[in-house]
């Protein structure tokens, strides 16, 4: 696999898995506004994953769906940060803040890439991510004086770059995420 395809899969996997985790707040967030916000953020992240998988799929001669759902859990290239199920609000916000920061830096690098297709897509994604960053900033301002939130930031910070192996939480998520697809023979038209 080329370096480009590996990079595309790394970002796409981050966005897909985070999108799934963010969507877990739909219906149970502490505020109605946050039900809407995390559902919308999840939808954006999964949209980014789709566009990135499509670029990778063209290079690898496959489809976005196959890349998203037909690989084994150990083949995913996402960081451990996005894999965790975080039903505590302060930990979810800490992940949101840490991820958006790291993602912004990654997008800046990609926007400057010589690969016009990749740079163009990164610029499009970055326009949408502005709103995720504003949302993260708003919550960081609100929670920064809370010891539980500060502890969550310390706990999760090392996981941003953790890409050697996976946490135990990826496999149960993968089971859930791919169960419908795996229940049908390969090549089923949906």
């Amino acid at each position: 696999m080329t370096e480009r395809a590996q990079l595309l899969l790394e970002i796409a996997d981050d966005e897909l898995i985070l999108g799934w985790r963010d969507s877990e707040w739909t219906g149970i967030a502490p505020l109605l506004e946050e039900d809407v916000a995390f559902s919308s953020i999840a939808q954006n992240e999964i949209g980014h994953a789709r566009a990135l998988y499509e670029l990778a799929a063209r290079e690898l001669g496959t489809t976005a769906d196959e890349l998203a759902f037909d690989r084994q859990p150990e083949e995913y290239r996402c960081c451990s940060l996005v894999e965790l199920r975080l039903p505590e609000w302060e930990r979810t916000i800490a992940r949101h803040v840490l991820y958006e920061q790291a993602d912004a830096e990654r997008l800046e690098r990609l926007k400057a890439s010589d690969d016009a297709e990749l740079a163009g897509l990164a610029a499009k994604i970055d326009r949408e991510e502005i709103y995720h960053r504003l949302h993260a900033e708003m919550w960081h301002e609100r929670l920064k004086g809370e010891p539980r939130y500060q502890a969550a930031l310390e706990e999760l910070r090392p996981l941003v770059d953790a890409r050697d192996g996976h946490s135990d939480e990826l496999e149960p998520l993968w089971e859930e995420m791919t169960s419908v697809r795996r229940s049908q023979p390969a090549g089923t038209r949906w």
């Binding site: 919308s40 297709e117 502005i130």
Partner: protein, 161 residues
């Protein structure tokens, strides 16, 4: 033989599936139309990459082109060349009349929290600038929720993209 102009006219009848008061041509998401040997090539940009209306728009465009007796090819462009600045003046007016505040121009600079929380945004119902941010996110990815303190009416604000 179908002409590009006929195709533009036909596409102007395709409503945005989520905000049907505005057409996809008013929205500026149809980027280019080329006609070659009975085939119509359309370049099209999603407002947001995760927009669930994408497939609906794509099939409605294809249907309109087929009705004209041509073979459609709809290409989705996924770069930063579309912005909400491309919504036509007519489109902005239609949005306003339907209770959606049109987006601020990109030239106003990258959106900041301070800006969203200020009263720079005008209520589409009464025109007052005394409006507050309720939620950066709304019922679709492209909209935020605001509240007008003057006429006490919540409204949806198109995000600047």
């Amino acid at each position: 033989m179908v002409t590009a102009e006929q195709v533009w006219d036909a596409l102007a009848e395709v409503p945005d599936p989520e905000i049907p008061v505005i057409s996809i041509v008013d929205l500026g998401v149809v980027r280019d139309v080329r006609v070659e040997d009975g085939r119509v090539h359309v370049e099209f940009t999603p407002t947001f990459l995760g927009c669930p209306a994408l497939e609906v728009m794509r099939s409605q465009m294809a249907e309109k082109i087929t009705e004209l007796g041509a073979e459609p090819e709809v290409e989705v462009i996924q770069d930063d060349s579309w912005s909400t600045d491309r919504i036509t003046p007519e489109g902005r007016e239609k949005l306003r009349q339907a209770g959606f505040a049109p987006p601020a121009p990109r030239e106003a600079g990258q959106t900041t929290l301070v800006q969203l929380q200020s009263n720079g945004f005008r209520c589409p119902y009464c025109g007052s600038r005394d409006t507050a941010l309720e939620n950066i996110f709304g019922p679709t990815p492209c909209r935020s929720l605001r509240y007008c303190r003057s006429c006490r009416q919540p409204f949806e604000q198109f995000k600047t993209i």
